[in-house]
Symmetry: C2
Subunit: 319 residues, 2 copies
């Protein structure tokens, strides 16, 4: 049951990963249609995958995130930001080098270019590691790129889901004060269990926001909460364009920026940072036959905070 | 004929400037209503003023830009970015410390806190210096703050008016390749007289844009022209909010930022940079009695590129 076994030779060495009994993978996430309107899949993608290397160095613990290929020749690839390569290939719903469609992690085996596999440190449980490979790097990369990872800053996290709960944990580990903006029902949880310092405060007091919400939401209140030179980083797509008055950026020299996952080098750095600081994603491990129920719960945002499917124990291997 | 002679003592020392016969000042600019909806003036503001100091050090050449006061105690004032002080006082349409309204440069004398006067180098003609004090710093500051001043970058300037023509000259002096996006009628002028390297080119080729246009304009084509991590800096207000799809920022990690004039320290740095590189604003010097005609021409964008009123020679001094 392998979704992808291309024989085409590429520059990057490839290796085969067998998702064994011990491994619990991959995570399940809800992606709005507009995030990747060209994807040829009807189902939900699975794109945070961990397993053991079989043909490269037996026993190595590795993971595969949201991408499995890139051109390996453009400026972005040379700069270790393959995630912004114009020819980057998504792990699900992408077209591989040979034209075949990529189907994510609903599989017991996969073949991947070595360049697109991460090492998973031994002290990091595989099930809690998987959500790092997309959700984790998606919040870690902008914190670093936009300079919101410095101790003493005042950073807000908008939304408390798969991405948001990891953002709170990263921001805290970076020594930054974190404030959570989420639905009232989640505030107690954020303060007591995730380490958030407070819930939303006064205008002009934030150095930056990491907005993890997908779908329509107003940006102007967030811009008002920023200090001068504050940065609002949006990570989730929305069905309709934001409405953005220029004056809200001009007065106070504020900016709105985007960010999308992260490069391979930076993702490995994030995994190692997480292992060092003992940051764990909050997950609910499910069996393969629970997938449809999990989908229904996802649509109601009824998960804290990421489903991880135990494919090793619940999907029979074909080799 | 002095618009403002407050006796209130402030921390900053104040001095009186007499706008003498030799001085040609200030510039005249068109500001859309939404840029400063609270201003109490019906007329057009004049806010780039040069003259000779009378009571501080006689004979010093100084200028006053868009601001004449700030709180002098907030973080922004301490960081030399008084322009983002929440209590910054505009040179026109602002409320001074004593509650009086500021009326810009339609005057033969003015009193100003020393902190808010710039030194004008002797090799810089006063008439060509005046447009620096708002237009010049408005384009210089974002080039520096957003890192678009490094040699080898590919920077676009949108709009070729009072701000845009100075942006082209600054970008060239910084060693950066500059491409101009403007109406077809102005392209020849930009290439032949201002030093632009080319007119608009292919998608994904720009490190940044300085958008000097005021009023409604589409942003999406500019975002498409940016490389990954490209920066679109908007300097002019618009009547309606921009429509901004999140995906255009997320894919390619692009950002839209704003910027508004600059701090006193940075403005002095810009004036000295301009004097060193012999950059001159292109101006049309007019007499005071030409103001109404100039206003009509401004509304038709019929000026290359800034009107400067010769107040010294055409407005009789009252002292």
């Amino acid at each position: 049951m392998s979704w992808w076994l291309s024989k085409k030779k590429k520059k990057f060495p490839r290796h085969q990963i067998k998702l064994t009994e011990d491994n619990k993978c991959p995570t399940m996430t809800r992606v709005p249609e507009e995030a990747n309107p060209n994807r040829p899949l009807d189902g939900q993608p699975l794109h945070e995958i961990v397993g053991e290397v079989q043909n490269f160095k037996v026993g190595d613990r590795v993971g595969v995130g949201s991408m499995v290929g890139s051109c390996n020749s453009c400026d972005n690839c040379a700069d270790d930001i393959e995630n912004y390569c114009p020819k980057m290939i998504f792990t699900y719903g992408g077209k591989y080098y040979d034209g075949s469609v990529t189907y994510g992690g609903f599989s017991d085996t996969m073949v991947v270019d070595e360049h697109f596999a991460f090492g998973i440190p031994k002290n990091l449980p595989l099930d809690a590691a998987a959500p790092l490979l997309c959700a984790g790097i998606t919040v870690y990369s902008p914190l670093s790129f936009y300079g919101l990872d410095m101790p003493g800053l005042h950073v807000g996290v908008v939304g408390l889901g798969g991405l948001g709960h990891l953002a709170v944990k990263f921001v805290k580990a970076m020594g930054t004060k974190v404030v959570i903006s989420t639905s009232p029902g989640k505030q107690k949880e954020a303060l007591e269990n995730l380490g958030a310092d407070s819930v939303l405060a006064a205008n002009g007091t934030f150095d930056g926001f990491v907005d993890t919400v997908s779908g329509q939401r107003p940006l102007l209140p967030l811009l008002g909460l920023l200090k001068s030179h504050g940065k609002l980083v949006v990570l989730g797509a929305a069905e309709k364009p934001f409405k953005l008055p220029a004056s809200h950026l001009i007065q106070g020299r504020k900016l709105i920026g985007g960010s999308m996952i992260g490069g391979m080098k930076e993702t490995q750095e994030m995994i190692d940072f997480k292992a060092k600081h003992d940051i764990k994603a909050d997950i609910e491990v499910i069996s393969m036959d629970y997938v449809n129920t999990a989908m229904d719960r996802l649509l109601k945002a009824d998960v804290k905070y990421r489903f991880v499917i135990d494919i090793g124990n619940t999907l029979k291997a074909t080799w």
